[in-house]
């Protein structure tokens, strides 16, 4: 590495870096600082206190919301990753190389199309007169429309699992693509069945992709606002809805900021645990 090369590289990367510092690092710092201030009617009191955090700890609703958010995100992550793995496996191992990008393109397209309208359509599908209910009634399977599939946590999980599907498929696919195919032949030559080859060779080698998929689904879902707002009903609201309420409706931005900080810290803590477990697991194998 010559000094002029690293200088030029740093110069080249500086516009996006400075942008990210000013508009990501500074605001994140600001929101942490802000969470130690308090709302005093129309003005913000800038004395540093822990009052917001005390309120979050004392009122059970905040803890319950956070717990529910983590639970929903965990469910979404598990459902999404388990449902996505076979698809990623299929595209990586059973699709001709020339057709792979077409499959990936088809999988990613729904992800890029109006999120708001997609979530709303889940209401149409799962609603009282929705596609699922009218279909089941017409088929004579049920007499009364099912009500447990909309305006609760289940509905939120279904819609989020749908929205984040491509996020789960792509990292698993990348990990599967990296697997040296001759390892699979070797395993079968040594007498393992196809199933055991999958369990003892393919699956362990794809763990980094699965961990990446878990993180890339888990982290953003915790902050999702639209789906719980539209699908969750009264009992399915999550932490993002409360953050929004504090900021825009109750005009208590510092408390909202504290809630955002707590949500961020929880996500970071859970992610770090996952990454550490993954590291230890990988080290145990080499």
């Amino acid at each position: 590495m010559t000094s002029s090369e690293s200088g030029r590289g740093l110069l080249m990367v500086s516009p996006p870096l400075v942008y990210a510092l000013l508009l990501l690092a500074v605001p994140l710092g600001a929101i942490v600082l802000f969470s130690f201030w308090t709302q005093d009617f129309m003005t913000v009191d800038t004395t540093l206190t822990l009052n917001n955090y005390r309120e979050l700890a004392e009122k059970p609703i905040y803890g319950a919301l956070l717990g529910r958010s983590v639970y929903v995100s965990a469910c979404v992550t598990v459902v999404t990753v388990i449902a996505a793995y076979p698809v990623a496996y299929f595209v990586s191992f059973h699709v001709r190389p020339a057709r792979k990008s077409l499959w990936l393109f088809l999988i990613t397209i729904p992800f890029w199309t109006s999120y708001l309208i997609r979530v709303f359509l889940w209401k149409v599908i799962l609603g009282y007169n929705g596609v699922v209910n009218s279909g089941l009634i017409n088929a004579g399977l049920i007499e009364e429309p099912l009500t447990f599939i909309l305006y609760n946590v289940n509905a939120v999980i279904i819609a989020l699992a749908h929205a984040f599907a491509p996020f789960a498929i792509l990292p698993i696919f990348v990990a599967l693509e990296k697997i040296d195919r001759s390892l699979l032949e070797a395993s079968q030559d040594l007498g393992e069945s196809k199933l055991m080859t999958f369990l003892r060779v393919t699956l362990p080698l794809s763990v980094p992709g699965v961990v990446a998929a878990v993180l890339i689904v888990f982290i953003p879902t915790i902050g999702d606002y639209v789906t719980p707002e539209l699908m969750g009903g009264a009992g399915g609201k999550l932490v993002a809805n409360m953050i929004q309420t504090q900021f825009l409706a109750l005009n208590n931005a510092p408390l909202g900021a504290a809630l955002a900080v707590v949500a961020m810290l929880s996500v970071t803590a859970i992610s770090l645990v996952l990454i550490l477990l993954n590291r230890r697991w990988l080290r145990g194998r080499t």
């Binding site: 942008y19 999988i107 309208i117 915790i222």
Partner: protein
């Protein structure tokens, strides 16, 4: 074989909500439910006469165009630096720039809201949304452009400079042509992301709503839902068109750069 059936069923699941859109957009009833009552194009006709919608669309197009250009410019810098130079703390710096990709959008939204309104005491406008959209779109731009920049040899530009070209014209004549399809793909994708983005625009828009914020307002009124379906149909059709062009260009860019296409730009 059963894997193929599962994969196809999965695709059906992915496309199910979108497939319903045109069905209800052409359905002659104000209630969005089965059974259908007959075909009509009046909901599309209503789109032409709603002036509030036109204003929202104009805002969104302006924001999406500015976001596409600015985030792609930043993306070019980052992808070029990442692919062609070695410099200290490279992994950390690149990781930090890519961070908005996984950060919950509501965190980006509220932290910028705090800075703009409470600390800088500025008003909200289209530019506050553009600022935030550039932040979240730049990582996508980098992800797309990485493929195009990967196999470029820095010595090609050096050769051009040795032969008397300036640094900029060496970039323009040597590096730009092979990465051009990637750049256009990045413009299209970032445009689509910005046009669709709701939560940040919801927090950061001033008095003028963007198209998704306007749609969000309509969702509360059952009467306006068929119009939303018609609008959604057009938006989804537009997104699919732009993404298809972007994908074709991205692949062309990859093959020009001599990279084996691994598929997918994420």
């Amino acid at each position: 074989m059963s894997l193929r059936i599962y994969a196809i069923a999965y695709l059906v699941f992915l496309y199910a909500p979108i497939a319903l859109l045109p069905i209800f957009a052409f359905n002659d009833a104000t209630i969005i439910a089965f059974p259908l009552s007959g075909a009509t194009t009046k909901w599309f006709g209503e789109l032409w006469t709603t002036t509030a919608l036109h204003a929202a669309l104009k805002n969104s197009l302006f924001i999406a165009c500015m976001t596409a250009v600015l985030s792609t410019l930043l993306g070019i810098c980052a992808a070029r630096a990442g692919a062609m130079y070695r410099f200290p703390a490279k992994a950390g710096i690149m990781g930090f720039i890519m961070l908005p990709l996984v950060l919950p959008e509501i965190i980006v939204a509220v932290s910028l809201l705090v800075v703009v309104v409470q600390i800088l005491d500025l008003g909200l406008s289209n530019w506050t949304i553009i600022t935030a959209h550039v932040l979240i779109c730049t990582p996508f731009s980098i992800a797309i452009l990485n493929g195009a920049f990967q196999n470029l040899d820095p010595s090609m530009e050096e050769a051009a400079m040795d032969l008397g070209e300036s640094r900029f014209s060496a970039f323009r004549l040597v590096t730009l042509p092979p990465v051009m399809p990637g750049i256009v793909a990045s413009l299209l994708i970032t445009f689509t992301i910005s046009l669709d983005e709701f939560i940040i625009a919801f927090f950061l828009s001033g008095s003028e709503p963007t198209l998704p914020v306007y749609i969000w307002g309509l969702l509360r009124f059952p009467k306006s839902l068929p119009v939303v379906m018609a609008l959604g149909t057009l938006l989804v059709a537009l997104s699919i068109l732009l993404l298809t062009i972007a994908e074709i260009l991205r692949r062309r860019g990859m093959s020009r750069a001599g990279v084996n296409d691994k598929g997918g730009f994420l």
